[in-house]
Symmetry: C2
Subunit: 141 residues, 2 copies
């Protein structure tokens, strides 16, 4: 589609964003949640790799740009209200979370115990991003 | 956990909400996306059935309260930033979307065609909610 009708059809919120859910295209695991602005969604569709909008850094964020853990988009969907995007992706490197875990949803609620970490770290974030980066601010990549 | 530490640990946004993703606990399908406030999350954990916060109606919304399509919660997770909740649920009636479809994410992006509806209606919404309701405002249940 050379025109931009499909981008206009998205019900962007007052900040010009939509929530985006990234799901493994094969296993169905929900790997992460992020936000997209119009440019991020356009670049995602054009490149076939997930591009988000980092609200904390206020810039486009090509997922995996530092870690190499890019996300290849197999399918892009939108919900009934046109205000949430679902990406069915292939997670390169098998790690979506900046903590070095496969999925960002590694904490499970247990009655009487609250949120408990139930999934392990697959790779030390220091090895993924380098020590210097780890000493700095929260890493989203 | 009789105390409310786990609720305090959630990074509620400036409106006191967190995004919530509902996923089929067996197939992994992402069925819908909604929001929760503190009370909604507390009731969800206590009752074992999904309770959301309806931003449009500004009230708690026990999913399925009108349709009967409640969501039985098998697992409740939270992400690395404590600001997104994932519910692994059993969708009673097999229909999560107010359009009568299994999932709200029934529109797929196709190059040159934009968003296209690719999943069918399983049950007429008029039969789910009754004719009167359908003539009214957008139905979230």
């Amino acid at each position: 589609m050379s025109d931009t009708r499909w981008l206009n059809q998205v019900a962007w919120d007052e900040q010009g964003l939509v929530p985006a859910i990234a799901q493994d295209y094969e296993s169905g695991e929900v790997l992460m949640f992020a936000w997209m602005n119009r440019e991020a969604l356009e670049q995602t569709a054009a490149s076939g790799e997930a591009v988000y909008w980092s609200r904390s850094r206020r810039k486009l964020w090509h997922k995996g740009e530092e870690s190499g853990h890019i996300q290849r988009v197999h399918e892009l969907r939108i919900d009934c209200d046109n205000d949430v995007v679902l990406l069915r992706i292939e997670q390169v490197g098998g790690i979506a979370c900046h903590t070095g875990r496969r999925s960002c949803f590694f904490q499970k609620y247990l009655t009487d115990e609250g949120w408990q970490t139930v999934d392990g770290v697959l790779k030390d974030p220091a090895a993924i991003y380098g020590k210097a980066k780890q000493d700095g601010e929260h890493n989203h990549d």
